[in-house]
Point group: C2
Chain length 161, copies 2
DNA sequence: TTTAAATAGTACTATTGCGGTCCTAATTAT
DNA sequence: ATAATTAGGACCGCAATAGTACTATTTAAA
């Protein structure tokens, strides 16, 4: 259903929590108690985030994790990528796809473009924004829509030539 | 991995095929042979699309399906919705969510907003565009990105007040 | 130097969701 | 009447995912 896996969702929760104290080091247990996500799950998430270099891990006693860069510079897209690997909206859009109907499919390329558009949208939302509440009926959406329709008409022109 | 289910992907293929002959009535068998998607699967997809009123079904002998409205007016988002029901990027973003950490989760609202943004992007891509090839490195992406970053800085302002 | 606290890495299981199939009823042109 | 179709479910098996557990490694502190 065009959705992100739950673990990824949890990852954003964890990151959001850490973003509230960007400097401090938090260990897994601490994060568990504050986010109410099961300890093993938190642990798993933290490892993935560290591997993706969004977090810095501090091993040994008094260890834990801290943000690698400031919340403003961390995009939602980067968190998603950290957990889910490379993202494509459709199965077939991936490079190594072996879709059965691939031969007679004319829209694969287009899905790639669309994936990019969505990714770009997520790339431009930072963790910082995630922490503070967004305005639900923000002007932004209208603005976005306008930009998109402009882009569409332009493309239309390209296609017609 | 932030992906659309394969059936939805197939649905776009079916719709794209129909869009090439917007007037004609095609039955399931015809569509199967042209798209190379298995017959039962095609059948299933067609039913869903008809239920969502994207297609008109003609029952009985010589029956089949035809587009309910012109390709230009059919958005990718509407196709996705037809197959996958209401869309939300995260599990919890749905109304009837019973996420365990719901109580202590501060970002649920924001995920709703983000879902909306993505949806809007898909809302503005029509089936017509899906049929003709999009330019892969289109100017549009840059334009979109620009619009988004503008929107971000504006929001930043809102938050700081 | 020893101990305890913490992460790294990996392997495992259970469950859910999804893709795909099939069957019966209802409808309609011939 | 008959044949061709869609409507609407029920159904199953697989694969991906969520969640757990265990061992090795690292490091601060006693
Ligand atoms: S649907 Fe698989 S390649 Fe187009
Ligand atoms: S993660 Fe479920 S409500 Fe926020």
């Amino acid at each position: 259903m065009l959705k992100i896996s739950r673990i990824t969702d949890y990852a954003t929760v964890v990151m959001a929590y850490l973003a509230q104290n960007p400097v401090d080091i938090h260990n897994a247990k601490d994060i568990t108690t504050h986010t109410h996500i099961a300890l093993p799950t938190v642990s798993k998430i933290l490892k993935l985030l560290a591997k993706a270099e969004l977090l810095i891990s501090h091993r040994g006693a008094n260890g834990g994790y801290s943000l690698a860069i400031e919340p403003k510079k961390i995009s939602i897209a980067s968190i998603i990528k950290a957990i889910e690997g490379d993202v494509g909206l459709t199965e077939c859009a991936h490079t190594d796809s072996h879709c059965q109907i691939e031969a007679s499919c004319s829209i694969r390329g287009n899905w790639r473009v669309i994936s990019q558009i969505v990714l770009n949208a997520l790339e431009d939302i930072s963790l910082l924004e995630m922490v503070s509440p967004m305005s639900t009926q923000s002007v932004s959406v209208d603005k976005l829509k306008q930009a998109l329709s402009e882009m569409n008409t332009e493309q239309q022109g390209l296609q017609d030539e």
